[in-house]
Every structure is written in C-alpha cells, then in structure tokens.
C-alpha cells in the first residue's frame, strides 16, 4: 500500500534520510519511531509528497509520488505536525474547501463533510471559527480534513503533540477507530503511544531504519535477551563465586552479576543477582529455579525483566551515539 524504496534526502550538507526502505501492507497500522531529528518528519513528508526524494522512490497504492503526484495525493490523507489550519475559517467552511480541493463532487460533498464531522466528534463545533477552538479540537479538524476523501492511506505526524492528557486519550481513541479500516502510518517520539496504537514499529535514527517489526516481538527479541532478577541465599558465606558459576552453567545464560556487591554475602543474608539470557533464548525462569533447587540455594524472588520497546529504543539510540562518537574520535 505504501512503498518506500531506498529513499535519500539531503538539506544542504545535512543528509537527513539515508536509504530508508519499508513497505506497508493494506490495513497495517505502523508507527514510525525515532528521536527528534532522526529523519521521521522528512520521511513522512516524502510519503505525503510535500518533499520529493533526492533518490529512491515512494509510491502510494501504486502511484509514484514523483511521476503521478495527483494520483498519489488523492489516495493519501495527511495530518502534518502541529496541524496547520486557516484559523479565520469556520470548521464546516474549511472542510468544504478541502473537499473541493480533493475534487469531491458537489452532490457528495455535504455527505462527506457530515461523515467526517461525525467521525471526528466535531458536530457541535461545525460552525465555530477554527481559531477559537482548543488544541484538541483543532487536531480533530485536521484529522477530519485528512479523512474527507476517504483515503486508503492515512499518515499522521505526531498526532498527540501538545495535547493535554484528556485530549491525548480522545485522539488515541479516534486514531484507533480510524485504524480499523485503512492503512496507517503514525509518526511519533512517544513510545507508549506507538506501542498502544500500532501493530508494527519502524524505528528510525540518524536517517536510517534501525529496527522494524511487531512491537511485542521487537521488545522480546530486542537487541539483548531477557534479564532475570533474583534474590537468593546460598549455603555458605562467600558463596558468590560458586553461585555465579552455577548461573553461568545454565544453558542460554550469558552473564550473571551480583547487584548488591557492596554488602558481604553470608549464610544469613539474601543476595541479589541479575542473570542475563542470550538474545532469542526461551524463558529461562524454570531453568534458573531448577538449578537453584538442585544446588540447595533458596530463592525468594525470581522475575524476568523482558525488554520493553523503550529499552530496545534507547539501546539502539545509544549505539548510534557511540558510533557517532567513535567516528568523531577517528576523525
């Protein structure tokens, strides 16, 4: 439905997008995640046809944004960041204007407008001036305008930016409703938002796609395996070494660390451990518990800290920063 193929874009000396590629299947709701300045908005603007790529191509439902710009734009609804609107116009007036721009025929126009007003809960403010509306309402006007021509693809850039918590909840609910029958790309730097709304996450940083997949799967696979937090009591004082060795002999365990090293461990004391599993390993809780029991070690806590999307995200960003630092050092 949306094809982004090896797209590059530079602004003067800044190479903002460096070979981004992904494809959205019909009905997919994808989140484009990344820190500020990662190239998200530039990528989205190229999908919307506001910017054209220096190289590579973007197509919307088969229409290339460079060679068939009109066809591509008709198939796409776009809500730009910060929802720019004509403040002096009334809501219904503005939607009428947008409907005419998108070539919705005169007879179908009132119905399309009424439908958009209803879908975005705007009926009671339809004859108010846009400038007099709250930010949440303005956001909905932007969404209604993007929906008017019933596009197959909806692209939203930071849809909850600058809204208060109630408005954020309302906008998310609306976005969830809209996502039921169309392909959507939501650009955001708010992780929980993407986790909640999307069935696919594309993480972009420094102009490149760093990770792409289902949020739960991304979090599970992550860049590291899961980490297990334990509180155990050994049999003898100074058991540290033996315990560490024991954890590490469990299949798939790649590291074990006492996290309360400052306290001397003795027979009466509970000690805390952090055991990390290999990337892609199965759940190791059972194996850890079995090993402990077999070696006569008491356990009072065993919990698996699965990767959250946030951890995966931060880890990816850190790696990029490290690369950049190394690059600078080398230079």
């Amino acid at each position: 439905m949306v094809l982004v193929d090896q797209v590059h874009k530079s602004f003067g000396p800044v190479h903002a997008v460096r070979g981004v590629s992904f494809e959205l299947k019909p009905g997919q709701v994808a989140g484009l995640l990344g820190p500020n300045g990662a190239g998200k908005t530039t990528t989205i603007r190229m999908i919307a046809g506001f910017l054209l790529p220096d190289s590579g191509r973007v197509s919307i439902a088969g229409a290339d944004t460079v060679s068939q710009p009109h066809a591509a734009r008709v198939r796409l609804g776009y809500l730009p960041e910060s929802t720019p609107l004509y403040e002096e116009m009334k809501v219904r007036e503005y939607l009428g204007y947008r409907a005419r721009l998108f070539g919705i025929p005169g007879l179908a126009r009132p119905r399309a407008i009424a439908h958009a007003l209803e879908r975005c809960w705007l009926k009671d403010v339809a004859s108010r001036r846009i400038g007099a509306l709250s930010k949440g309402y303005k956001q909905r006007v932007g969404l209604a305008a993007a929906l008017l021509h019933n596009p197959a693809v909806l692209v939203l850039d930071e849809p909850t930016n600058g809204l208060d918590p109630t408005q954020i909840r309302e906008t998310r609910q609306l976005v969830r409703e809209l996502a039921t029958d169309r392909t959507m790309l939501i650009c955001s730097h708010i992780l929980p938002e993407v986790e909640r709304l999307c069935d696919r996450v594309i993480i972009i940083a420094a102009g490149k796609v760093r990770a792409d997949g289902n949020p739960a799967q991304l979090a599970r696979d992550g860049v590291d395996g899961a980490v297990y937090q334990l509180q155990v009591r050994g049999m003898r004082p100074g058991d540290d070494e033996r315990l560490g060795h024991m954890w590490r002999s469990i299949p798939y365990v790649v590291g074990a660390l006492r996290t309360d090293k400052d306290r001397p461990g003795d027979l009466a004391e509970w000690t805390s451990w952090s055991v990390s599993g290999k990337h892609g390993a199965p759940d190791l809780r059972e194996a850890i518990a079995t090993a402990a029991v077999q070696n006569g070690v008491l356990i009072r806590e065993l919990r698996s800290e699965t990767n959250t999307l946030e951890r995966v995200f931060l880890r990816l960003i850190d790696e990029i920063d490290d690369d950049a630092d190394e690059g600078r050092d080398a230079a």
């Binding site: 602004f11 776009y78 070539g103 932007g142």
Partner: protein, 239 residues
C-alpha cells in the same frame, strides 16, 4: 483549473474574513474619495477622471504589495502550505488561484469608484468622454495585475509577509525608475531597458490611448512573474 478557482475563492473570502482586507479597502476608498472631491469634482473643471486615475495609480504602489504580501508567505509561516501542497493541487494552480483571488479583491476594491463616474455623468455638462475613463480603468487593472504578480512572486520567496511587502514595493519602484536609469546604462542594453519602462505606457493610457502592445506588455510581464512564482513554489518540494 478547478482547484485554482477553489483556492481563489478561499483567498478572496479570507480578505473579507480578516480586518486587514476591510482596512485596505477603506483606506483606498477614503483617499480616492478625497482626490475625487478636491481635484475632480470642482465647478469649472473639465469632466475628466484623469487626476483620480493618476492618484489611484500611485496609491497602488503601497496597496498592491499590501494585498499580495500574505498570499503565500502566510501559508509558509503558518505551515498551512503543507496540507495545501499535499492535496492534489499543482503548483501552477496554487499560484494562479492565489493571484486570481488577489486580483478579484483588487477589482472589488476599485468597483465602488464607479460611483464617481456616475456622479460625473449626472452633473457634468458636457458629459465626460467615455474613452479615457475606460482606458483609465483598464490601465489600473493592468498595472494592478502586474503589481500583484510581482507580489505573488515575492510572497512565494519568503515566509515573512513584511519582507514580501518590501520586496514588492522596491520591485515596483525599480520598474518605475527604469526609464530614469536607462541613460546611464551601457548603450547595448539601453533599448531593452526602455522597452521595460512602464511609465510611458501608463501615460498613453491616461491620454485615452489603448495600445494592444501595452496591454500585451502588462499581461506578458504578469505571466512571467507568475511563472517565476510557480518555480519558487515547486522548488520547495525539491530542496
């Protein structure tokens, strides 16, 4: 073309939805009214609107840039250019629509001055010559269209409306002073500069002479500036 009309009608509406549009109309009509009362509508004066047209022409100098300065600059400043340029609207339709909206607004601003013509016909004896009056209005419309096309270009170049106003004003002043500068220019480009001069053409219109070459000049020059404005808008997608 359909989208150009849509944009033009929204643009025209936006002049009247904001106080700015009404203020421009009011100021222009006030000054035009003063000129009419003090220098045209006097006993013993020949029944001619010549002074009114001369002053109106000069008034266009600040008024046209004020009309055109926000056309595209405001869209760039507020970001509304983004939903506009991502809707199925070509850059040419966008520029043409904006320009047409401004032109219709300018004509709407000039329209009430038709009352002076009516007053003159009712009161003057002998009746005024219709030729120079028609030529005068045609000249105002053509000069206005040229000024607005320069203004549209300026407005497409910056997101700052004040800057767009200044660029247009200085562009127009430059055009007016071309004939005075021509004698100092190298002989090779002197004829070209003289051909670009607007003031002699306006002078012909004031005499009631409608030369098609002059009409073609104003329309052609307007088209040329609009073409540059289209390029200025289109280039934003690529940079």
């Amino acid at each position: 073309m359909r989208t150009a009309l849509t944009i033009a009608s929204r643009e025209l509406g936006s002049y009247f939805r904001t106080p700015a549009g009404w203020v421009i109309v009011a100021l222009y009509l006030f000054l035009a009214g003063v000129v009419f009362t003090l220098s045209v509508f006097m006993p013993g004066r020949p029944a001619s609107l010549r002074d009114f047209f001369a002053v109106s022409g000069w008034l266009l100098l600040p008024v046209a840039p004020a009309i055109s300065m926000r056309l595209i600059a405001e869209e760039l400043r507020s970001g509304t250019i983004e939903p506009l340029m991502t809707s199925p609207v070509g850059s040419a339709s966008l520029v043409l629509g904006k320009f047409a909206g401004a032109c219709v607004f300018m004509l709407a601003m000039l329209a009430p001055t038709a009352a002076y013509v009516v007053v003159l016909y009712r009161t003057a004896e002998p009746a005024p010559d219709p030729g120079p009056i028609a030529a005068g209005y045609l000249c105002l419309a053509l000069v206005g269209s040229l000024s607005l096309s320069i203004g549209t270009l300026a407005s497409a170049l910056t997101s700052n409306a004040t800057l767009a106003f200044m660029m247009t004003l200085f562009g127009l002043l430059g055009l007016l002073f071309v004939p005075s500068a021509a004698p100092f220019a190298p002989a090779a480009i002197r004829p070209a500069l003289m051909a670009l001069a607007v003031t002699p053409r306006i002078g012909d219109f004031a005499k009631g002479v409608v030369d098609t070459a002059h009409v073609a000049f104003f329309l052609g020059a307007s088209a040329w500036f609009l073409l540059l404005a289209v390029a200025a808008v289109e280039i934003r997608r690529w940079r």
